[in-house]
Amino acid sequence: MMALDEKDRAILQALRGDGGMNAAAVGKLVGLTQPAAWRRIRRLEEGGVILGRRVRLNKMALGFDVVVYLGVKLAAKGRVSLEDFERAVCAIPEVQLVQHVLGVYDYRLKVVARDLSDFERILRRRIMTLPGVGEVESNVMLSEVG
């Protein structure tokens, strides 16, 4: 674990707003010189706090109108079936997020689809046929509000 001070947190906050900013722009926002901001960003990267940067695409502009969160229970538990399930579910390109969780479900998935009939196809052909899959609950995302 890495100890973060107020400046580090301010830098992360700034970069969370716009991950494409360079050290000079970040420095200006948080009150540091460009080299000082650069050194701190570098330290956050080396300390494993910043794992990387990725491009953010507009889903709607690319024709993906539907985001669905799924709760999945496994029917048959056991080490082998967990590994088989994880390998198979990660290979589905429409599945963006796979989280192993503790609670009423075993896994939480985020699925992107072009529309509801595309989602139905993914659900029936890809998700319901996963090894060991049991009960599946779908919640369609309406909005991201905070």
Binding site: L4, R53, R54, L57, L62, V101, V112, N139, V145, G146
Partner: protein
């Protein structure tokens, strides 16, 4: 805006590696630097590329516990959604608030330093939120896949 096959090729390479320079991106997409730059500019101006985002490791920042809450609201109250969301936004440890269509109404993430800290947030802040009729919690054990990549 119209996105053609060449644009999609550029976007696929950008999704694979967000840290590519324009020259590297052009080489991978099989374009000249100028042609690649013009297309990226156009995709940014057209709002297809929204920007860059950080991938953060909250555990490395000292937040060892991540819990996903799934909340059902009391819909007999007229402004339940708005009142709930406004109050939830004020809790610094809460993020990723989404409204859903399904068995639950709202989902949101809570990040805490440890279980004692989580319990404190849950008891003092979450349960104090207005118009909750049911809360379900899923605790993150491990993240098996996390990509923002679209199947384009």
């Amino acid at each position: 805006m119209q996105v053609d096959d060449v644009d999609r090729r550029i976007l696929r390479h950008l999704q694979d590696d967000g840290g590519l320079t324009m020259a590297e991106l052009a080489a991978r997409a099989g374009l000249s630097n100028g042609a690649c730059w013009r297309r990226v500019e156009k995709l940014e101006a057209g709002g297809v590329i929204e920007g860059r985002e950080l991938v953060l490791d909250y555990r490395a920042m000292g937040y060892a516990v991540e819990v996903f809450l799934r909340i059902t609201l009391d819909k007999t109250v007229g402004n339940a959604f708005d009142a709930f969301i406004a109050a939830a936004r004020d809790i610094p440890e809460v993020g990723g608030i989404q409204t859903l269509l399904g068995r639950v109404d709202i989902r949101m993430d809570v990040r805490a330093r440890d279980l004692a800290h989580y319990q404190e947030i849950y008891k003092e802040r979450i349960l104090a939120l207005p118009h909750i009729s049911d809360v379900e919690a899923l605790m993150l054990i491990s993240e098996v896949k996390n990509t923002g990549a679209l199947p384009i």
